[in-house]
């Protein structure tokens, strides 16, 4: 029963963290020296679903430093490689960020759609409808 919602519940969490990161990038599109950041969705989802081949290095001691900083659900936040350098040190490419945000929103809605399907399927089973 716990596995019913599968990967979509985790995916929603990661998608909402990513939405926050991309919103930060867009908010700081005009801030000098701001470095755009993002997460690697596949790596994070793999790590959260228990796929050890794709997971990141463990911090086995409280004194270990975190290399990049992490989101609330433990995802590594990486820096984007800029396509074109800016004189003011800002690496936000507004168009790339906007399309990434849009893609992220669509994927979030796709996961929601899957979850809704599962829930309505469950409800049908509970009511005994065909």
């Amino acid at each position: 029963m716990d596995n019913l919602f599968g990967i979509h519940a985790t995916a929603l969490k990661i998608r909402s963290s990513r939405a926050q990161l991309l919103a930060s990038n867009i908010a700081n599109a005009d801030t000098p020296n701001y470095k755009a950041r993002d997460i690697d969705f596949k790596q994070v989802l793999g790590a959260m679903a228990g796929d050890t081949a794709n997971s990141k290095m463990d911090r086995t001691h409280a004194g270990h430093l975190d290399a990049h900083g992490t989101t609330a659900n433990g995802a590594d936040i990486l820096y984007r490689t800029p396509n074109q350098s800016n004189l003011d040190g800002n690496t936000v490419d507004l168009h790339a960020e906007r399309s990434a945000f849009m893609e992220n929103t669509m994927m979030y809605q796709a996961s929601l759609r899957f979850l809704n399907g599962k829930i309505s399927g469950l409800q049908m089973a509970i009511r005994g409808e065909i």
């Binding site: 963290s17 939405a19 908010a27 599109a29 005009d30 992490t70 809605q109 829930i119």
Partner: protein, 137 residues
């Protein structure tokens, strides 16, 4: 729920961009405010944007933007010889502000585009949240 933080982040950016618009409007309004001395002449102002790190230690990613200060341009003022002007100094010169109208116009367009982008982000996040709230209904 990190989607709620999106409102704070995009909201902070909208505040910063509207400060930028205000400053630009002030510069444009005063583009021709002449004065009789360099000290009292209006100088073009520019906002300085700065990233707000919520709390570096908690590993949070919420990063808004704020206006850390407004600086006055140190570019040279335009000096014009017009002895008939009521504001002219002893040598017959008046001083014009160092406002560059072309620079201000591009600044204004950039600010309004950035503002619009953030409004779009808020709208998309609102849709995402409302759909999440309706999940299973």
């Amino acid at each position: 729920m990190s989607l709620f933080n999106v409102f704070d982040i995009a909201g902070s950016a909208m505040t910063a961009q509207s400060v930028r618009m205000n400053v630009t409007a002030s510069n444009m309004a005063n583009a021709d405010s002449v004065s009789s001395s360099t000290g009292s002449t209006y100088r073009a102002r520019h906002p300085i944007f700065e990233t707000v790190f919520s709390d570096v230690m908690d590993g949070s990613v919420s990063k808004g933007v704020r206006v850390s200060g407004i600086i006055e341009s140190q570019a040279e003022l335009r000096k014009e010889y017009s002895p008939a002007h009521p504001q002219a100094d002893g040598d017959g010169y008046v001083y014009y502000p160092n406002v560059n109208p072309i620079e201000e116009m591009t600044n204004m367009i950039s600010a309004s585009r950035s503002y619009q982008n953030n409004v779009e982000i808020i709208n998309s996040s609102k849709q995402m949240l409302l759909q999440t709230l309706r999940m299973g209904q």
